[in-house]
Structure formats: structure tokens, C-alpha cells
Amino acid sequence: MGKKRIIAETGAGQHGVATATVAALMGMSCTVYMGSLDVERQAPNVRRMKLLGAEVVPVDRGGRTLKDAINAAIKDWARSVRDTHYLVGSVVGAHPFPMIVRDFQSVVGVEARRQMKARFGRLPDFAVACVGGGSNAAGLFREFVRRGGTRLIGVEAGGRSSEPGQHSASLAYGTPGILQGSLTYLLQNDDCQVLPVHSVSAGLDYPAVGPEHGYYRDGKIVEYGLCDDAAALDACVRLTKTEGILPALESSHALGFVLANVKRFRGRHVLVNLSGRGDKDMNIIERELGL
């Protein structure tokens, strides 16, 4: 492609770290846009990006989270498109970005399906993943949607409450709208302005959702549920104590949904996508739990 520079946006910092890593490997210069609120709350990943040689640009607009980081990256790219590639981190943005990101992430679903068959000799009854922009879910679901046999559940961030501004559940509470090049479900007010959002996890804190999730929901191909901040934190602690695995707060939403609906899932094979590790969330977890 002849590009010398990579830019990306990041919420939780996972995609920023991955982008910074690949840029370091390829000897390309790298700029990562990150909402200034996320820079504060995901500090360990910011340090990793810097260590890898990336420039991390804090974005002070709007709610200072993922959406605002994407806006800043789009504006950079409008100027720099000639020598810069925009490596979008979620299944959002203009076509063909949602498709590209879904297809690269789909390796997760292909492998998970194969491993379930090898390990249990059968497909899972359910596959569950958290949905902010929705890339880990789109990646997990892709192969299961293509080949069937498993009920799919996406879990959005219920935040503190169902009040506007207190959650980031665009499929649950949003209406059709256009943001950042996608026609999708959008959290917006009566005057078509994008609403502020909240989630305890930076990676889910986004007022829209990948457009394919809207399609999945409308076509009843995937079911979507909610997990609030408190239930996600609970699930995070429970997995840590019972399995010694510290999941990211994003992934903890998927787990929290399963634990909250345990009657429905008891005795069934449930695949939960632990899309990230929670080391980056230690300061949030400590603060929220008063440790």
C-alpha cells in the first residue's frame, strides 16, 4: 500500500497496544488516539504503547472516550490518507472497515468452534461475548453464524442504570442513526445529537454499535442482553477467585450475563469469550471495590 505511518483509536488500550506492537515490528511510525478519560483509567496500556514507540494523543472532546478518539483519528486520516493507514480497532466506521475487522477477528470463532469440538466432542449450546463497538463478538459469532448450531448472545454495558448517559447499550436503547460512516443503532436525543454514555469498562463505552450487530438483532440471528457495572465487577472477581483468571472488565460483562441468568444456562455448554485480560483494570477494580 506504500503507507509509512499507522494511526488507530483505542478505548481500553488493547487495540492501541496491538497497533503499536505491529508498527514497532514493521518499523512504521504510529499515532494512537485515546480519549483523555481512558488515558487516565487505562494507564498501564498507555505506558505499554509508549514503550513500544507509539505516540499516544489524548482527546479532550465530548465524553473523552472511544467515540471521541475515533473522531480524532478520522480527522487525522482526512489529512494524512496519502501516507497513512487507519487501522480501525472495532467493527465500526465506514464500509469496508466493519467487514475487515470482523473477518480478521473471526479467527477467534473458527478456533473456538474447533476447540469445543475437540475438547467436548460437540458444539456449545451458547456462545456469549460482550458488545461495545462489537469486534470481539463479531469475530466470535462469524463462524457460528455461518455454520449454525449454537445460540449466540451479545452483552451490552448496562452501566449504572437505564437513564440516558448512564449506560452504553445502543442496541437496547438506541434508534437508527448515522455515526462515523455507519448506519446503525445510536444513542441519541430527540434532536439527533449523540448522547453521552457510561460504562465502567472503557472498551464498551461507545454510543453506537457495529452495524452488523444491528442486522443480527433485527434478523434475530443473535440475542442481545445487558450486564450492569456492578454485575460485571462481581463476575470479574468471581472468575479471579475461582479460576485464577483475571478477565478484562469488558469481557466480565459477558460472564456477568451468564452468572445473572444461571438458571437458563445450568447444565448446558456455554462458551464465553474472554476477549482481554484485566491487569489493565486493576486501578478501576480497586477503586470500585474499595480495596
Binding site: G62, K75, P176, L179, G181, D191, C192, V194
Partner: protein, 248 residues
């Protein structure tokens, strides 16, 4: 003034009265007005216009409020001068394109500029606007291929918006040889004036725009002047630009 030129103002910025007054005075000199409809996520705008939108929205300004001001401008401005709305896609789409079009045309808006709707996605907007006698303004940028330019330019309505540089509003004006060639190709195919926008801030850049195109749009600089010096400073600026560019 020479050319087919427009001024851009953010709707109801810095306040409704100053906005209306600046628009009316501007239309003494300019041929058309672009009214920015404030949006929470203006992905084509630089910091100056983004700040202006945020300031207007912080006062809970609505789309209807801005249309109310447009109505008052329409009453005072010459009939032949078109008022365009520059609105982001969600502003138009989410309330229903037909509903948007009815309200906008009812307030005297003659055309709509939507920076985040590419030509390939424009059909549903063009059709609905046509029913309300509003034009859908098409964009060309330095990244548009010659083949696309011919296709986009040949059906253009209102004016053809040539984004003069790679980037967002408020950047530095710069035309390379390839871009000049594309402007020429666009003018050849377009039934309406080809107007340069993005980065034009003074007499010098306005003159250079007119060397190659049918007109120019000034936006960011006007917003800065309105913020610092109010409507009188803006009036002086309009007069200076018109004088500097020369008579038609």
C-alpha cells in the same frame, strides 16, 4: 464581487442575533450562505468550527431554533441568494429525510451539504430533497478519481463543492498541480459553479481560488472574527474580501 462565492456561519453562533446580522450583512457581498447545523460529532470540522458547534449546543440550541433564525435571514436577504444547510448525515437521516426536508425548505433552505454522505450513498437524499425543491450539493476532493469526477460533476445541483485540500475545515490552503487539473475537469462537466472550500481565509487565498475555480467559501476565519470582534469586525472582513477580490 467576482465569482460565485459563499460564506459559512455556524447556526446561532455566537448568539442568534449576531448570527442573523452577520448573515444578512454577508449576503450583501456573497452569493450564498452556508449555515452549519450544530452536531455533537462534526467529523469534517477543525477545532474552530467544532468549538462553535459545542458552544451553541451547550445552550441547548435545537435544529428548530436554527431554522427559526434562517427564516429571519430569508426575510431580509435578497431572493436570488441561496441559503444552504451544512448538516451531518445523522441530523438529516435520524429525524427522517422527508421530515428534515420539509422543515428545512419551509424555513427557506434551498440546498443541503452533507459532508459525511459519499456520492455512492446519496440517492435517497437527492430524491427526497428534489421533492422539496432543494438541491443536494455534491463533493469532490483531491482523492476523487477523474472517472468519478465526470460522473459526480455532470449531475451536480446548486454548486459543486470542491474540497481544496486533504483535511478538515480550517486547514492551510494549498493546490497542487494534480488538484488544479481535477478542478478543470470538474468545471468542464459541471452544469453549476465549481466552488472551492476548506482553507480559504484571506484575500490572497480567495484570489488563488478564483484563478482556478468559479468561486470559494470562507468559513473558519469568519467564525474566528465573529468570536473575537463580533458582527462589525465580520462586516469589515466581508467588505475587505469583496474589495480585494474585485468586481465581477
Amino acid at each position: 464581487m467576482k465569482g460565485h462565492n459563499g460564506l459559512y456561519l455556524m447556526g446561532n453562533y455566537p448568539d442568534p442575533d449576531t448570527f442573523i446580522e452577520a448573515a444578512v450583512r454577508g449576503l450583501d457581498f456573497f452569493d450564498f450562505l452556508e449555515v452549519g447545523i450544530p452536531f455533537s460529532d462534526p467529523s469534517a470540522d477543525g477545532p474552530v468550527i467544532t468549538d462553535a458547534a459545542e458552544a451553541v449546543l451547550a445552550r441547548n440550541t435545537t435544529f428548530d431554533d436554527v431554522l427559526g433564525s434562517v427564516r429571519r435571514i430569508r426575510e431580509r436577504a435578497p431572493v436570488g441568494k441561496t441559503i444552504y444547510a451544512m448538516a451531518y448525515a445523522n441530523t438529516v437521516f435520524a429525524r427522517g429525510i422527508g421530515n428534515f426536508a420539509e422543515k428545512a425548505s419551509g424555513a427557506g433552505i434551498g440546498g443541503v451539504i452533507i459532508p459525511d454522505v459519499p456520492f455512492a450513498e446519496s440517492e435517497r437524499f437527492i430524491k427526497t430533497f428534489a421533492r422539496h425543491r432543494m438541491s443536494f450539493v455534491r463533493f469532490i476532493s483531491p482523492e476523487t478519481t477523474m472517472e468519478q469526477i465526470r460522473k459526480i460533476a455532470s449531475g451536480a445541483e446548486g454548486f459543486l463543492y470542491f474540497v481544496s485540500m486533504r483535511g478538515i475545515t480550517g486547514g492551510r490552503f494549498d493546490l497542487d498541480a494534480a488538484t488544479v487539473k481535477k478542478i478543470r475537469a470538474a468545471r468542464k462537466c459541471s452544469p453549476v459553479p465549481v466552488v472551492l472550500g476548506f482553507g480559504i481565509a484571506d484575500i490572497q487565498s480567495a484570489r488563488r481560488a478564483l484563478d482556478h475555480a468559479d468561486g470559494f467559501v470562507i468559513g473558519t476565519r469568519i467564525i474566528e472574527i465573529l468570536k473575537d470582534g463580533g458582527v462589525d469586525a465580520a462586516g469589515e472582513f466581508f467588505c475587505a474580501i469583496a474589495g480585494g477580490v474585485g468586481r465581477a
